[in-house]
Symmetry: C2
């Protein structure tokens, strides 16, 4: 295929009209330019320049190729500039997945700050529960995911944002501040993983909850509780996103979930990804960033 170095030489010759002038412009010695032209002619099998008296002249083919060369060189320049814009966070794209209550609380704050700081970056959201979000990360369909988990995650680099406490949620006039105090009540379960966690917590208290309703929607859940249809547990984030005044909430210490931000691949992250994770960390409710040795959980690697 055509050698771009030679095309650059040909373009310079076309622009400056002579081998010597082209060499000067390219900071080459004159024989280098001659050599490149000769090789380019040999490689293409076409006569590109013709000696004409003291100087040279481009043939029709030479002018054609020089024109194309200019265009190609321009595209190379443009690509380089685009890449620089990317690195300088003046352009690019970041895709974020987050679970609903995060999207209802601190994620929009981070997104707004990010958008203001880097207006050239195309920031996109996607709602996804943690298992789906992790899949999206692994498949490369998102760059950053805000997840919660009760266990460790392997194969991804994660950083803990804060501990999201769990709250017992009851109607206003149902007494009892512990799970076991409501063992005879009807219970409302959330998503599959949340229900599993609820079952585990109740088992630790020595009973199995009677789950009558199931819904992911934390607004609906509170509405059900407000109507005296049952009790449930909800994470603090959900209550921060929406708080029905007609329910009573009681913290359940030690039963919280950890909220993490996760990225795929190895460090260092692309600039836009890195910038977004920092914004998210800064906007999360209780950023542990102040302590130098804050907890970091990564599949294998550990962030410094």
């Amino acid at each position: 295929m055509l050698d771009v170095t030679r095309l650059r030489v040909l373009a310079a010759v076309a622009r400056h009209g002579s081998v010597t002038a082209a060499a000067e412009a390219l900071h080459y010695a004159q024989p280098s330019v001659s050599h490149h032209l000769a090789r380019l002619e040999a490689e293409t099998g076409s006569r590109l320049v013709q000696r004409s008296g003291r100087g040279i002249r481009l043939t029709e083919a030479g002018r054609l190729l020089a024109d194309r060369a200019e265009e190609i060189l321009g595209r190379l320049d443009a690509a380089e500039e685009e890449l620089a814009a990317h690195a300088g966070l003046r352009a690019g794209r970041v895709r974020l997945a987050a679970f609903p209550s995060a999207l209802g609380t601190f994620v929009p704050v981070a997104a707004a700050a990010f958008d203001e700081a880097y207006p050239g970056i195309d920031l996109r959201f996607r709602e996804a529960e943690p298992p789906a979000a992790i899949d999206l990360l692994r498949r490369g369909e998102v760059d950053v995911a805000v997840i919660f988990t009760h266990e460790d995650v392997t194969g991804l680099r994660t950083e803990e944002l804060f501990e999201d406490e769990t709250y017992l949620v009851t109607p206003l006039d149902w007494a009892g501040d512990g799970l076991a105090d409501h063992r005879g009540r009807r219970w409302i379960g959330g998503c599959e993983r949340c229900r599993a966690e609820l079952l585990r917590a109740c088992a630790a208290e020595g009973f199995t909850p009677d789950i009558r309703f199931t819904t992911d929607d934390y607004v609906a859940v509170q509405q059900l509780v407000a109507r005296n249809l049952g009790v449930t547990t909800l994470p603090g984030l959900a209550l921060a996103a929406h708080r029905n005044e007609r329910v009573r909430v009681v913290p359940l210490p030690g039963r919280g979930r950890r909220v993490l931000v996760a990225v795929a691949g190895e460090a260092p992250d692309p600039p836009a990804t890195r910038a977004l994770t920092e914004m998210i960390r800064a906007s999360s409710p209780r950023p542990p960033a102040a302590e130098p040795g804050h907890r970091v959980t990564a599949g294998r690697a550990t962030l410094p």
Copy 2:
């Protein structure tokens, strides 16, 4: 600036999804691909790929650059193909300058044959008297010129096509087959160079012609003669292009002009130029091509 070899490697990695597969497709060893990627990242200052488990994944910047690379590689291919079309006479342009009576006789024959043989080539004419045509050649505004001359031309490669005899042109009933037989008549002069040649010829016969009219147009000249307004000389080509039946023509042996085809620059000519000169030679009235050692006049070089 971006190195196209590395861009080709990046594009292959993007297409095939792994370093190993890309290496296979490029017929490279795997470490070569790794090395190119690493260098490209160092040179651009951007992370382009990220290790992800067993394989790698392109970052946003990597995908952007790979896309641009595909485009640039495509343009390089296209340019190469265009050039090949040029060399194969499937595309291109040739510009021809010729003097009027040549354009009225054999040049259109050559042009038609050329157009039929190479329909992809953009063939253009331009009428120009020899001095102007030679200037156009030197300035590169035309590629081929059909000229006539009485002297040698330097600095251009010329090939003689044929000898164009000069004819004495008189009214039908004016007797006298030599120049001197009409020394007392009124004369009609052609263009500046033709008039100079006429003066020289008459001087050789021992008189100065009384030039009353001057016009380049060989149709007008014959009309003037037909109306008994004077006598003149005309080259055979002009008479072949247009013959007024009411004039008498007498050949003047040894006073002809040589008709040449001229090109600029050094051999070998571009394919289209070469093809056109051959067509012109084949279409010229008395091609001397049959003789192996036909006369060739070139400024310095001599065509084999």
